[in-house]
Symmetry: C2
Subunit: 217 residues, 2 copies
Amino acid sequence: MSDKKTFNPALYLVTDRDLSLGRSLDWVVEKAVKGGTTVVQLREKKLDTKAFIEEASHIKKILKSYDVPLLINDRVDVALAVGADGVHLGQKDMPYEMARRIMGKETIIGLSVESYEQAKEAGKLDLDYIAISPVYTTPTKEELTEELGLEGVRRITEICRHPSVGIGSIKAHNAGEVIQAGADGVAVVSGICSADDPEHAAKELRQAVDKARMHNA
Amino acid sequence: MSDKKTFNPALYLVTDRDLSLGRSLDWVVEKAVKGGTTVVQLREKKLDTKAFIEEASHIKKILKSYDVPLLINDRVDVALAVGADGVHLGQKDMPYEMARRIMGKETIIGLSVESYEQAKEAGKLDLDYIAISPVYTTPTKEELTEELGLEGVRRITEICRHPSVGIGSIKAHNAGEVIQAGADGVAVVSGICSADDPEHAAKELRQAVDKARMHNA
């Protein structure tokens, strides 16, 4: 297995420029990484492809210096263009098998799982991780699905044995219970992007995750 | 050279579902091809990736039976997923060199050229064709740039020796003059997608192009 595939899912940042309080993504990402973020997913739904590639290329340089992997949301083309470590696929994105064929074996490919049915299907795929979404309801997704809660995390991590991160309104105070319910890490959008101090927010989240993982072990 | 690279740019359809008067893209595309369309560019700016791939895969099957190449607008990932014949890049899309590296030598890659400066730059690249845009102003582009006119087509085809299609408000009555000004073909959106009878519209356009090409030869 390559280093890429053995990434640590403990604290997974999903970027959102609209939730970053006018601060640059560079700044937010670097602060988040300094605070202990272990993997970054760049998510851009409005940028032109060229601008997305330029941004991804820039963020990749920052992350490389911290040895933190970069995943691209949805866009396999952008991931290939900048040599990202992988992609994160939603249920409306490219089907997994196509993405794997195009990206190759050595890249990280993750999938959002929003129901038990989807968890069952995801279990059949050679995914590197799943994102259990949403653990709690969140204002960052346009199409709200019902929250899965801790019971959902428990059931999904039983159905589907891939490494997993929970996502959806997770902050330091509730990160630990998500890990105790079975997730290997937490994915955070506004909890870091909208924090007054993203580095401090990341540090608190990471501590909560690490503490709960120790407790699980 | 492969067959893919020797495509005929005479009549180039760019799809637009919003301009197709509620008729399915399948229907419009098949009619257009029956009327003499020689290449089809699938352009989707709003679809989710999965839906775009499903549509592209379906349109590819139709085109294959007529031996007409399929190009994908902007999205190298969609083109790779369905094995399209190539991509069409705008100035805000993936830079040409990256797209070529990812897509390989055998695929068709075209670029929109909207100024003399861009034509000069395009001339340095190993493109398969350029789209000179807009020859006349058109209601299908959100960001209108100044129309290049026939003098623009003349100058651009002198600056940049790649095969070229003119695009922008071209119909049967003015297609011939665009070819006489130096273009190898015409690209059409509403002239086919919004025609009462797309097959008839394509037939008239193709005749006008072929007549003018004979005149040039």
